[in-house]
């Protein structure tokens, strides 16, 4: 999708969320020990942790920006990229892996043009890996949002994900 056609409503909404973040920060002003809690709340607000939010949290809680960044990059739960409208999760559990899920993952990264943990520019897809979703009998398996797909072969990947706008 070209830049001109891209809608900016996501960013506009994001701007509107900052006053709410300020309120959260106010409750924890100067309390560095509340960092993880505040980051949780911030991520709940934005769906991820934009750079500006990280800067505001650091300033408000009186911790260094690098401490905030260190915590965010350490804990898998936190994300610094916005989540896409659809979450594609490829299982790399043992059964799926031996039945070729790495190939599916490689294909997904190539087709979407993003790495694991990334989001496409149009925010249509986010790509992640999971370790076993209890569908080993269907290996290799993947999830798109709440839908489970089994016996996925890399040539079928696009047919599956294109159903999701």
């Amino acid at each position: 999708m070209s830049q001109e056609k891209q809608c900016h409503c996501a960013e506009i909404q994001e701007e509107e969320l900052y006053p709410r973040l300020e309120e959260v920060i106010k409750e924890h002003k100067g309390k560095g020990e509340d960092l993880i809690m505040v980051l949780h709340k911030a991520q709940n607000l934005f769906g991820y942790l934009p750079r500006k939010a990280q800067e505001l949290v650091a300033e408000g809680l009186n911790v260094s920006l690098n401490e905030v960044y260190g915590v965010i990059t350490f804990y898998n739960f936190f994300s610094t990229v916005p989540q896409g409208r659809n979450s594609v999760k490829i299982c790399l559990g043992t059964a799926c892996y031996v039945r070729g899920s790495q190939e599916v993952l490689d294909k997904a990264q190539k087709e979407l043009g993003i790495k694991v943990g990334g989001t496409t520019e149009d925010r249509r897809y986010s790509l992640d890996v999971v370790r076993c979703i209890g569908a080993c009998g269907l290996a290799p398996a993947m999830l798109v949002n709440d839908d489970v797909y089994g016996r996925v072969k890399s040539p079928h990947l696009l047919d599956i994900i294109e159903k999701y706008e």
């Binding site: 750079r51 990280q54 800067e55 300033e59 260094s64 920006l65 690098n66 401490e67 905030v68 960044y69 260190g70 990059t73 350490f74 804990y75 898998n76």
Partner: protein, 584 residues
Amino acid sequence: MIKATINNVDIEVPEGTNILWAAKKAGFTIPTLCNHPDLEPGGQCGICVVEIEGIPGLKRACMTPIGEGFKVRTHTPRVMATRKQLVELILSNHDTDCLTCVKNNNCELQQLAATLGINVLDYPKFEEKLPIDHTSVSIVRDPNKCILCGRCIQVCSKVQTVNALAVNHRGCDTLITTAFDAGLGNSVCINCGQCVVHCPVGALYERSAAEEVWEAIHDPDKFVVVQEAPAVRVMLGEEFGMPTGSLVSGKMHAALRRLGFDAVLETNFTADLTIMEEGTELISRLTSGKNLPLITSCSPGWIKFMETFYHDMIPHMSTAKSPQQMFGALAKTYYAQVKGIDPAKIVSVSIMPCTAKKFECQRPEMNASGYQDVDYVLTTREIGRMMREAGLDIKEMPDEPPDDILGEYTGAATIFGATGGVMEAAVRSAYRLVTGKELEDVEIKPVRGLKGIKEAEIDIEGTKVKVAVAHSCGQARELLDKVQDQIAKDGKSEYQFIEVMACPGGCVGGGGQSWGSNMAKRARRGESLYEEDRSLPLRRSHENPSVLAIYEKFLEKPNSEKAHKLLHTHYYKRSAVDGKILPG
């Protein structure tokens, strides 16, 4: 006192002593990679493991206080095998191109691998070439060499309270980086280089200007002038195996001349000049009572720290440039004029104990001469290497004086290199400026030494001036917080004059000093500067004949319009996110 044995040797040490230091008492050096005498032990590397009888598992000597009756063994087969394995694991993902590494022959990991006799690597090499951080004009960071010992973080966050570096990411991807992995040049890094001098390996080093300087020296059309900071004369000897703190002023001049510089001048000359400008500024602020305390501005690491974290202190800063930059402005104006040299042909090089000076000389406002005032800054390490490359040994050099007319200096200038020195030099001259009389006892002992924040009250014929000295940005922060509180509460501070140096110990502890330094060495170098001060015939800046001459022939008087144009500067507010100048 605790009684214990180390490898059957009886020892008695104070309670709380860790096994690492206790073992030293018994004559055993336990190897370590992350421990540093000036930093708190962190236990990251695990190399210092030992066995203690009756206690299961191995213990890290740096993190374990010795207990009553402990029987410690420091080199059992199990301990030695574990250490080897740990070092092999580090080497398995370490860029081991030692021959082309800046730390070749000075690397603690290299030495440890040799000490432990590691000659076969049992683990396959796992190397992912990560990009080297070249964003800073002062410091280069190579993550491929980093062993994640955390010394740089400890000194950056605890000693300097800058927090430019931290552990980011996780597991195999763990890296020591700046916020957002933006690179040191896009961070709050103040370029002090304390991370560089604490790094055990080649992961942090200065951005070298040696090639550019060689090129200038070999260019017959260029006239290359060199200035040397006060602290360099008590550091350079170490680069040639001389005892710590050896005073080599004369030998340094001789070696620089032989290296090919066209004029060997002195930062010490402009240190004396700084005192004239800053001393005059102090008197005028004391008279007007405005913007007190006056705070010194010689340390470029401190300047960026203040610009980033203490915006409200900008009016308190002395507007006097640092001696390096005063020299730069004069070399391409006054010196060029008197010597009849086209300033466009002058290449101005400075030898500094400092990495932040590289940043300072490239600040866009530092061009009062119409050119970049100082072209290249070399650290003590870089000039030491260049001298060795040219086959020069400082030990073999005769003592030679610097060249005129920017070379003469007094004892007041030379002590600039030690914490408290600028303050002491300023007081020596301020006394004269206020009273018209000379201060008889020029030695102001309370501001000397490595104590945290030093205070003194100076009596200038009835006028009491309360001064304070801080070295390291952590101590500066403590002092400034106090000043801020006092100003907020009473409208004024108890202090009238404050000296701040970014590095612990002052410039003798700068980021450009020889590898393998510690506080004891910094102290020794400082003492040598005070020795030179005592040995010089003139010990007050206002007695320097070349300084008097420059005012008479060129600058008119201290703080004159011309002096302001060339020798004074202004400061910016910087972002605490990326260190960049804020708009407005």
